[in-house]
């Protein structure tokens, strides 16, 4: 499996420019049972997120008397990837669930719901690079749909180094053959990026490239943020009609 050329004539394999996102589709409130939900496509990623809560926590000794307990479960459907994935959590999904939960915890106003639990469940129905950021984006919208109070919206996107270039939102080939991958999530409030909520990276980049990557991620996140808002708005407008 030889590495293909990932950038040809200044364009990426799927024709995108370096700073271009894949097509995104967001639908709010797609599930009946969940308190909030969101379906999100980002390129070939197909994600569905559900939020339950604030609700009672069982057994009791898992409750926190001062704030809500947040759970976040990232899960891939067995058919979401080329080679069938064995059902159940693996090491990768445990790590992703941890850093994703840690991105949302400081944003959710947990103190408002002592002793209760807020559960965020995200299913990857189809995976195509960048699932953890796509999942966070869906989870944020589902949290809003559930009416959970937050300090802002969490919006995530990955950047990558590919054939020497820093590019936005890598798709599968770029992730696999590229030099580096850096998923980032931001807290956005009042149309302003406030801080970093999630940050991971693996590969090889200079310090300058990392900084450039963050700048590019901010640009991408703002675009996604607008789509998240729009999707939420569309649902509520529809409901009022």
């Amino acid at each position: 499996m030889e590495k293909p050329k990932l950038i040809v004539d200044g364009k990426r394999l799927d024709g995108r420019g370096f700073e271009e996102l894949r097509p995104i589709k967001i639908e709010v409130g797609v599930l009946k049972r969940a308190d909030g939900s969101c379906y999100l496509e980002m390129g070939k990623n197909k994600i569905i997120a559900a939020v339950y809560g604030p609700r009672e926590v069982h057994p009791r000794h898992l409750q926190d008397p001062s704030k809500a307990v947040i759970r976040y479960r990232y899960n891939m459907a067995p058919f979401s990837v080329e080679e069938r994935k064995k059902p159940g959590p693996d090491r990768r999904s445990v790590e992703i669930s941890k850093v994703s939960r840690e991105a949302l915890e400081p944003v959710i106003m947990k103190e408002l719901f002592p002793r209760s639990g807020i559960d965020v469940f995200v299913e990857v129905l189809q995976a195509d690079a960048g699932t953890r950021t796509a999942c966070l984006n869906a989870a944020s919208v589902a949290l809003i749909d559930a009416g959970v109070m937050m300090k802002g919206i969490v919006t995530a996107v990955a950047v990558a180094k590919v054939d020497g270039q820093i590019v936005l939102d890598p798709m599968k080939e770029e992730d696999f053959y590229g030099e580096a991958d850096m998923p980032v999530a931001f807290l956005i409030r009042n149309d302003q990026i406030e801080s970093i909520a999630l940050l991971q990276m693996d590969g090889r980049m200079t310090v300058e490239e990392v900084k450039k990557g963050i700048e590019l991620a901010k640009k991408g996140a703002m675009e996604i943020y607008r789509m998240q808002r729009e999707a939420v708005m569309k649902k509520y407008v529809k409901e009022e009609e």
Binding site: R33, A34, A49, A77, P78, S80, R84, F121, E123, L125
Partner: protein, 271 residues
């Protein structure tokens, strides 16, 4: 406590309506909710289908691998059916290994497909005794508003009909459509007092989980049955269920077949 009270009120309401000869959502007692089937929704899977049964939603994906046959069926492919009741789909589902409910769901769906011989397993033999196709049928619940069983059965057979065997990718010849030769449909009913409620929604199940699933094939033969739930069933009630279920299956089968043929599955056409 408040939840318990809510449940009590709901149950009383459902029961009073049933006794008045009505279902809470206005359906006839032998009426399914609206069935919507979309296939080919997961491009990375060999076959897939999303089924909506009212608000209940299930995705089934089919993946195929090459593996060894079972020693006692050396010239036949293998079907493995698995169900995940992920906690996204219901406030009562918990993360963890499959519990008795998801195991029962997977096994009853599996029996419908297996016993109707819907998949021609002999055509899935690559090299007798050495290499056969393994068909993984993964049921992934998205929203459990009652009767995951029938939604899953419909999704499973629809996904199988949507499946292309990826022979090229595995270097064993040319791709071909998965050979399907039957169309099993399960019909699940809730038994309440003297009443049979076909395709119960979740609120209806607040009166108890007295379920009966009867799966029949294209010719109206029974291929699988499962009494599920802690209750006793009168013999005559069962005979009534039997006739009713086979009749309803025919109806649903035509409905699904129309949708699978229909133009509404844009993504399906290319495959």
């Amino acid at each position: 406590m408040p939840e318990d009270i809510l449940m009590d009120i709901k149950r009383d309401y459902v029961l009073s309506r049933i006794r008045a000869g009505e279902r809470i959502d206005g359906r006839n007692f032998d009426e399914f909710r609206k069935v919507e089937v979309k296939t080919g929704i997961i491009e990375k899977a060999e076959g897939s289908a999303l089924v909506k049964l009212g608000n209940t939603q299930v995705v089934v994906g089919v993946k195929m691998q090459v593996g060894e046959p079972f020693p006692d069926t050396p010239n036949m492919g293998i079907i493995i059916t698995n169900a995940e009741l992920v906690p996204l789909a219901s406030p009562t589902f918990e993360p963890g290994p499959p519990d008795e409910n998801s195991i029962e769901l997977a096994r009853v769906v599996d029996r419908g497909i297996r016993e109707s011989e819907a998949v021609d397993l002999e055509k899935l033999c690559i090299e007798e005794g050495e290499k056969v196709w393994i068909v993984f049928i993964d049921i992934h619940a998205l929203d459990d508003d009652g009767n995951l069983m029938d939604a899953s059965s419909i999704a499973a057979i629809s996904a199988l009909m949507n499946t292309t065997v990826p022979a090229e990718r595995f270097g064993v010849g040319e791709d071909f459509k998965l050979p399907i030769r039957d169309f099993p449909i399960s019909v699940t009913s809730l038994v309440v007092d003297d009443r049979i409620l076909v395709d119960p929604c979740r609120d209806e199940m607040s009166v108890g989980k007295n379920l009966m699933t009867i799966t029949s094939d294209e010719e109206g033969n029974v291929v699988a049955m499962q009494k599920s739930g802690s209750y006793l069933m009168a013999e005559e009630k069962f005979y009534e269920l039997l006739d009713l279920s086979v009749a309803k299956a025919k109806e649903i089968r035509e409905n699904v077949r129309e949708q699978l043929k229909g133009g509404e599955n844009g993504e399906d056409e290319e495959s």
